[in-house]
């Protein structure tokens, strides 16, 4: 296809003539010549294969000569000789009226809205200079729906339906779709049941793309502030790998800026007694999951027909909930290793607490995550002892940024600080957990050396890296060809899972991340407003951080070695099975109508 000469069409937009490929839309063509037509429902993350253009909001309408009505530019293909006006009086009046209509059915609580300052509707109202709403009338009201991770406040829904595309087309979760008709139409779970009775995985991709405050995360900042204020409590914090490459955006830094040191300094200023790193637990995950992989592989190589291969990674809570809902017949395939967040919690409350002589109940573990599903994960019953959770509160990257601003900390001028020891030491292998392909690359680094007893010449496995939806790679492990599959986005994961169910999968190990891009694109990250260059910048930053580490293989982390020596014994020991592994549940019956 690439060799074929694309057919070009010539069109005139606002007096400027431009040649574009046949099939392009008026919106695309305008963009080429620097005309930014405003939109609300349109979303095009071409690099990630995510496109949403229902032509529903009607904000992007333009005037096309010879056409009876106005044309939605985001879905109207260009035609040769087309003459388009994007700002005629007719267009400006129509666009403004449509926005006024939208606002006439929207709450006026911007002052206290979680999305204020980050809201596409708000910025558009500002851009179009709306000062009053000429239409008064009924406003649609819906029951507010709170789940462990996500709040749905559908009074603020403008029916752009981006969330629906993320939930159905991209993630194939099917928790959200349009219900009701006309003025009452809204996006909701089937029968307008609560989200926690739906197959929602809490991946939070709906939040990532919501242009208004209709979908937001449950805010736990207040609980964390209270814990920090409680003199009886020792409050420790862990930060996930993908947070450090995105947090800077909230403070005006270029996407891809690495702020690990500033983040540690800020957390210390906020009053956390110990500033630790989830990366430490990521190294621990590799020890456990890598050993499990080697165990299954060895059995397989010894001719055991019953061994479950491929092994699937299990660090992503949205992915775990996804297979519990959709593949309950395959619960024995994923690794039993807990996620790094939960491994950290278990080690903190069972090992570190004792080390610093603090009672479990008096130790509060807070996690900073690029994710909203982590809130749900730490609330899962199996991750608590006598009602006391291993991880008490999980804050998203956005909540942390807000917390820092609230505490008058000038983030940009902070000097870099290091994490505390012992649970703050980590390797480059742990950092790359933050992007798609990272977990499996880290596992390969360790599994290779343990299995072969040889040193890796090169720790960078370029063949595993990338942002394509589904990738496969093979790694030569001393003559054995280890076949690896990688998927990010649950829709892509579903394809690999269906292959396994049909007996068509050739992989030995598969890494799955629920969010497109992996954790760098997590539902708790700073809003990217559909700009994929931001995701790419974070992606590159993750590997820069890895390359800058002196130790880049999990099994070489000295504090991990010490942990096994002092406490756990060896990977997959009885104690580590008790503390670091988990089991999965059939969640088909969790979906019901109230």
């Amino acid at each position: 296809m690439r060799n074929q000469i694309m057919e070009l069409v010539k069109i005139t937009i606002d007096g400027k003539t431009v040649e574009v490929e046949k099939g392009a839309t008026i919106y695309d063509a305008a963009k080429l010549i620097g005309i930014d037509i405003p939109t609300l429902c349109y979303m095009n993350m071409g690099d990630m294969n995510i496109k949403h253009n229902p032509g529903g909001c009607r904000i992007c309408v333009v005037e096309v000569e010879g056409r009876r009505n106005l044309a939605p530019s985001c879905v109207t293909p260009v035609m040769n000789g087309m003459v388009v006006n994007t700002h005629s009086v007719r267009v400006l009046n129509a666009r403004r009226t449509v926005l006024e209509l939208m606002l006439s059915d929207h709450p006026f609580d911007c002052l206290v809205c979680a999305k204020s300052g980050n809201c596409d509707l708000q910025s558009l109202a500002q851009r179009l200079g709306i000062r009053e709403i000429p239409f008064q009338g009924e406003q649609s009201t819906y029951r507010k729906d709170t789940s462990p991770s996500i709040i749905r406040d559908m009074d603020k829904c403008i029916m752009c339906r981006r969330c629906e595309t993320m939930c159905n087309q991209v993630q194939t979760v099917g928790a959200l779709s349009a219900v009701n008709r006309g003025f009452q139409a809204v996006v909701a779970p089937a029968f307008e049941m609560n989200l926690d009775h739906s197959p929602c995985t809490y991946c939070g991709q709906c939040i990532s793309v919501c242009p208004t405050g209709a979908l937001t995360e449950v805010d736990h900042t207040r609980q964390v502030i209270n814990a920090l204020a409680d003199p009886k409590k020792t409050v420790i914090v862990q930060t996930a790998p993908a947070v450090r490459v995105a947090l800077g955006e909230e403070f005006g830094m270029e996407p891809g800026t690495i702020v690990t040191g500033k983040m540690a300094a800020a957390l210390r200023k906020l009053g956390f007694n110990y500033v630790f790193d989830t990366d430490f637990a990521a190294d621990l995950t590799i020890m456990e999951e890598g050993t499990e992989l080697l165990g299954r592989l060895n059995k397989f190589l010894a001719g055991d027909k019953k061994v479950k291969l491929p092994i699937l990674t299990s660090c992503c809570p949205a992915w775990v909930k996804f297979f519990e809902h959709n593949f309950p017949d395959m619960l024995d395939i994923p690794s039993t290793a807990r996620s790094p967040q939960q491994m950290f919690g278990a080690i903190a409350k069972n090992y570190f607490a004792e080390k610093i002589n603090v009672k479990r109940e008096d130790l509060v573990v807070v996690s900073i995550m690029p994710c909203v599903a982590k809130k749900y994960e730490c609330s899962r019953e199996e991750f608590s002892t006598n009602g006391n959770p291993d991880v008490d509160y999980s804050l998203s990257t956005r909540e942390l940024a807000q917390f820092i601003k609230q505490a008058n900390i000038d983030f940009n001028s902070l000097d870099d600080e290091d994490f505390d020891r012992p649970l703050g030491e980590s390797t480059g292998a742990a950092v790359i957990f933050g992007t798609t392909g990272g977990v499996i690359e880290a596992a390969v680094r360790t599994a290779y050396e343990i299995h072969t007893g040889k040193k890796l010449d090169k720790v960078d496995f370029q063949q595993i890296r990338g942002l394509e939806n589904v990738r496969s790679a093979s790694v030569d492990v001393d003559g054995f060809e280890l076949k690896i599959g990688i998927a990010h986005g649950l829709g892509n994961a579903r394809k690999l899972l269906e292959d396994i169910r049909d007996g068509k999968s050739e992989f030995h190990a598969i890494e799955i991340m629920a969010c497109p891009g992996g954790c760098i694109g997590g539902g708790g990250q700073p809003y990217h407003h559909g700009d994929t260059s931001i995701l790419k910048a974070r992606f590159k930053a993750i590997y820069r951080e890895d390359a800058g580490k002196t130790i880049r293989k999990s099994h070489e982390n000295p504090y991990i070695i010490q942990l096994y020596k002092e406490f756990l014994g060896k990977p997959c020991s009885e104690l580590s099975h008790h503390l670091l592994h988990t089991k999965y549940f059939d969640r088909q019956d969790d979906v019901f109508v109230d």
């Binding site: 229902p54 032509g55 529903g56 909001c57 009607r58 904000i59 309408v61 009505n69 106005l70 939605p72 879905v75 109207t76 293909p77 007719r90 009046n93 129509a94 009226t97 449509v98 209509l101 939208m102 006439s104 059915d105 000429p134 239409f135 008064q136 009338g137 009924e138 403008i158 029916m159 779709s177 349009a178 009701n180 008709r181 006309g182 003025f183 009452q184 139409a185 809204v186």
Partner: protein, 592 residues
């Protein structure tokens, strides 16, 4: 001899099934069951005077027949050869009985092409359809003509889509025929949803084979082997008859593999709609058939390129299909000789509202509204004055006296601020408030909007609310400007035909009845006396005798006064129920 009994939904509701049974048993009692055949037919159209029983061969047209009249019809007409005069239609002007429908004002100006068999044949008997040239067109197409030739005939006939938009049918077929795909579909849109309209239902109930035959012809022309009829589940009788007809056509080898011995294969399936008006829009209809939410998507791609299950699909309305076999049989020249320059053939209308002859009519394009309302429709009920006629269903416009002599076709109706739509025609008289009428239609579109695009979802709601405000006497002059601007924007920016036309009732009433809006806004009066909030019941003290009847019937004790002295209504308490007005024997209560 034949006795044709109307089996349409309207006449069935008036016990026409019992008439049929009674006729049969009376004939049996007289041992006439072999001489006289009783046939259940489709709708005759003259629903105002239903149930209809027609006697053949003398064409006697009995109206408003009751089950107990069966005996008299058999004893008098069949046995003694004397017409039952009391059941004949009475010409309202000459006051004479009319026996043959040909001489009735209602039928005189009609030409029946789409409805050619309705009221003539038993729709549940394929032989009766075949005896009236049924399936001849299909045979001709698949044995003597190439697909391109068939399309050419349809193109030359000038037939345009009867569902509302009036897109040239032949051109639509041609586009679909040129799409390349392993599977194509012919879709029949039987999702008739306009309030008061029943054109498609009558065709399907009265002549289902004409649609089946046409769909097969379309399948042959565009290269589709599968057809789907999307029909609303609220049409059980049409569904039943369609099912029977499909079964019979399969039995006769007119559907299925190797039709009439050729290599052409075609079969039909039914898909049921849940009654959403928007599913009449072709993309919404297709999504509904696919099991998705019934809401439209942007065109292009058109269904002819990417339709049902992503395959090229040709969607036509029931009435459009019903015209096809006749065009093939009689030729495109014959068809295009009927009608106006740009609108050929006939159009079926469902005539309703304040009109004497409510019913289903089919007239040549170019017939004027005056002919339809005053000649076919018999004028306005109760001798009242004509005020407006609303054409094109809920999103059509209201036309007035000045439009009465405009020949009706697609283009003239649009130029007048209304549209053809699928053929609803509702007549209004002097008692109708045009602001309320606009509000009524907006209420419908607000209810039926799918909610996908902003202008239709929120805009129509705001239009409705503003109209409601005006009807309550709270409107301002600014509101009138807002109504117009908002209507124009909704029309200009909505995604599908529903939103693009929903403001028509507002715009056309603003254009043609602005004085009524002004009366509501400036004088706080409803000239037609329909807006309850603007009504005021008052007692004329000179006419009131103090009988106290009104005070006793008032449910909120708003009326006071001593016996034998004039009474008084406290308007702050009055709920305007009208009970006193009804009760007063002395015409002492009047409405302001």
């Amino acid at each position: 001899m034949h006795l044709l009994v109307c089996g349409g939904t309207g006449c069935r509701a008036s016990e026409s099934s019992a008439i049929l049974d009674n006729l049969k048993s009376v004939l049996e009692e007289n041992n006439l069951e072999n001489e006289v055949q009783v046939v259940k037919t489709g709708c005759f159209g003259f629903c105002e005077k239903g149930p209809i029983v027609k006697v053949l061969p003398d064409n006697t047209f009995y109206t408003q027949v009751k089950p107990e009249d069966a005996k008299e019809i058999v004893n008098e007409h069949i046995i003694k050869g004397r017409k039952v005069n009391r059941l004949l239609y009475l010409n309202p002007e000459s006051k004479e009985h009319v026996s043959d429908s040909k001489h009735m004002g209602f039928y005189k100006k009609q030409i029946r092409i789409a409805l050619r068999n309705c009221g003539f044949i038993n729709p549940e008997n394929i032989d009766e359809y075949i005896s009236r040239d049924g399936y001849e067109a299909l045979a001709k197409c698949i044995t003597e003509m190439t697909p391109a030739q068939v399309i050419d005939v349809i193109k030359r006939s000038g037939l345009r889509g009867r569902g509302g938009a009036g897109f040239p049918t032949g051109l639509k077929w041609e586009i679909a025929s040129k799409s390349v795909a392993d599977q194509k579909y012919v879709v029949c849109n039987a999702d008739e949803g306009d309030p008061g309209a029943f054109m498609d239902r009558s065709v399907l109930e009265g002549d289902p084979h004409s649609v089946i035959e046409a769909m097969a012809i379309c399948g042959y022309s565009i290269g589709a082997s599968k057809g789907l009829v999307y029909i609303r589940a609220e049409y059980p009788l049409a569904i039943e008859r369609l099912k029977i007809a499909i079964g019979q056509a399969r039995e006769y080898g007119l559907l299925g593999e190797k039709i009439l011995g050729t290599d052409f294969a075609f079969d039909l399936e039914l898909r049921y709609g849940a009654g959403a008006f928007v599913c009449g829009e072709e993309t919404a209809l297709i999504h509904s058939m696919e099991g998705l939410r019934g809401e439209p998507t942007v065109k292009p791609p058109f269904p002819a390129e990417r339709g049902y299950l992503g395959k090229p699909s040709n969607v036509n309305n029931v009435e459009t299909f019903a015209n096809i076999p006749v065009i093939i049989n009689k030729g495109p020249e014959w068809f295009s000789s009927i009608g106006t320059e740009k609108s050929k053939g006939t159009k079926v209308f469902a005539l309703a509202g304040k009109i004497n002859n409510v019913g289903l009519i089919e007239v040549p394009m170019g017939t004027t509204l005056r002919e339809i309302i005053f000649e076919i429709g018999g004028g306005i009920k109760d001798g009242k004055k004509f005020k407006a006629v609303q054409t094109g269903g809920p999103s059509g416009g209201c036309l007035t006296e000045k439009h009465l002599d405009t020949p009706i076709d697609y283009d003239n109706l649009i130029a007048s601020g209304s549209m053809m739509g699928s053929g609803g025609m509702i007549v209004m008289d002097e008692d109708d408030c045009m602001v309320s009428i606009a509000k009524y239609y907006l209420d419908f579109t607000v209810e039926e909007s799918c909610g996908k695009c902003t202008p239709c979802r929120v805009g129509n709601k705001r239009l409705y609310e503003t109209l409601d405000k005006i009807c309550h006497g709270n409107g301002t002059m600014e509101d009138l400007d807002k109504l117009r601007n908002l209507s124009n924007v909704i029309r200009d920016t909505s995604l599908c035909g529903l939103g693009q036309t929903s403001p028509n009732p507002v715009l056309s009433t603003l254009d043609n009845f602005y004085h009524e809006y002004l009366a509501h806004v400036k004088d706080h009066k409803c000239p037609a006396g329909q807006c309850k909030a603007l009504m005021q019941y008052t007692i004329n003290p000179e006419a009131c005798v103090g009988c106290t009847a009104c005070a006793r019937v008032c449910p909120v004790n708003a009326i006071s006064g001593e016996r034998k002295k004039p009474h008084f209504i406290d308007t702050t308490v009055c709920i305007k129920c009208g009970a006193c007005f009804e009760k007063c024997k002395f015409d002492a209560i009047y409405i302001n």
